[in-house]
């Protein structure tokens, strides 16, 4: 018996402190949620989700007039252990050790990840079932299992392969650099609508500007500025699709300086103008 918990809701005002003890996958479909994890302050925006380990203590706050539609899954550590045993272990090991090999609890890189592909679809379905009051535990468990499967798959592309592309020989150095790059990336996602300087990003990531530029390019095949522009364009796309706000207002909201450069960048990225996209 495990004690996974799924919350799917539309909330206007909420504050949770010292949340800990379970692995968390939290996503927002509309609105924003502010997180405090140690000294880090992050903002989860539509199109992204956050993963947190079971021994991390965090707080999150929702304060929105328009409401925040979100799904939050708290995975029982035993469930995640069983998942790792059954999915990641070979059949031979499982036959030899049907109880599962005892191992340390997984410590995965805590970060904001893109909510796209299969995990997006499976979380949306799960959210719909919870909203409809489905309480078939086996059905819900099927989705949870696939959400973990999708997350581990995404982890390979977002963490493992990015780590491999860093030009360092030492594995520990690669781990530490990627961790700091994730801090930089999460900072950009959380503050995409503000006037961010490269020096600010480097400072929160505890890297020099040159080191940040060089290693970010190795891991993400783009500069921090290009990455930030992509986040802003993605948010603009979300606002164009989901709100009636005028384009000039959206340009301001997502942090672009002038409408003409926004329109040019949008067209170059998506092969359609913002007006036609809407």
């Amino acid at each position: 018996m495990n004690s996974n918990e799924i919350i799917s809701e539309l909330t206007y005002d909420a504050y949770f402190t010292e949340v800990t003890g379970r692995y968390a996958v939290n996503a927002v479909f509309s609105g924003e949620v502010d997180y405090t994890i140690d000294k880090r302050k992050l903002t989860l925006v539509p199109g992204s989700f956050i993963f947190l380990n079971d021994d991390t203590s965090y707080a999150h706050k929702i304060a929105s007039d328009e409401g925040v539609s979100r799904i939050s899954i708290a995975f029982d550590p035993e469930y995640v252990n069983d998942f790792e045993d059954s999915v990641l272990e070979s059949d031979a090991v499982l036959l030899d050790q049907p109880e599962g090999r005892r191992r340390d609890r997984p410590r995965l890189l805590e970060s904001i990840y893109p909510l796209q592909g299969d995990i997006k679809y499976n979380l949306m379905h799960l959210s719909k079932h919870v909203d409809n009051g489905v309480d078939d535990q086996l059905l819900l468990s099927e989705y949870l299992n696939h959400c973990l499967l999708n997350y581990y798959h995404l982890y390979r592309s977002e963490v493992t392969s990015r780590k491999a592309s860093l030009n360092f020989l030492n594995g520990t150095t690669k781990n530490e650099i990627l961790k700091r790059l994730c801090v930089a990336k999460d900072y950009m996602i959380s503050n995409y609508n503000k006037n961010i300087r490269l020096e600010d990003i480097a400072e929160v990531a505890c890297l020099s500007v040159n080191h940040l530029l060089r290693t970010f390019k190795q891991a993400y095949q783009q500069t921090p500025h290009q990455y930030l522009t992509k986040i802003r364009l993605r948010q603009a796309k979300y606002l164009l699709r989901n709100t009636d706000r005028p384009i000039n207002e959206i340009v301001d909201i997502v942090g672009f300086e002038c409408p003409s450069s926004f329109i040019r960048l949008f067209r170059n990225s998506f092969n359609v103008t913002p007006g036609k996209f809407r």
Binding site: P114, Q116, G117, D118, Y121, N122, H125, H129, D136, L138, L139, E142, Y143, H146, R234
Partner: protein, 121 residues
């Protein structure tokens, strides 16, 4: 009467009665009405997502691979598992989306595909 607003997919089956039991009782499709095709009364079934299939009885020489569209593959997989559909494969992530496959009593391979857009990053 055929409603031209909807799409109908024809599935050729060996035995109408056996296939009806499979599609209605096992898969949970709804019996809609019959339609006369070449002098035969053929049943129309409605799937959970509202799409329609028509079963036509005929001697099958070579079973077909039929792809049906679903709006939620994991829901269907769970449902079919509960109904103990034989040879039900595990959900597979494909370039086109998420799919499960199984065989109907006539040997046709049925794939239920939940189409997913992976380009919309």
């Amino acid at each position: 009467m055929i409603d031209f607003e909807h799409e109908y997919l024809v599935i050729f089956v060996e035995c109408e009665a056996t296939s009806l039991r499979f599609f209605v009782d096992m898969l949970g499709f709804n019996r809609d009405e019959n339609i006369e095709i070449a002098g035969r009364n053929c049943p129309i079934l409605q799937m959970q997502n509202g799409h329609y299939i028509i079963l036509i009885e005929k001697k099958i020489t070579e079973p077909e691979h039929i792809t049906l569209v679903t709006d939620d593959c994991l829901r269907d997989y769970h449902d079919f598992k509960k109904r103990e559909i034989e040879q039900l494969g595990k959900p597979e992530y494909l370039d086109a989306g998420l799919a499960i496959s199984f065989y109907d009593p006539s040997g046709n391979k049925i794939t239920m595909l939940e189409s997913r857009d992976y380009t919309d990053a």
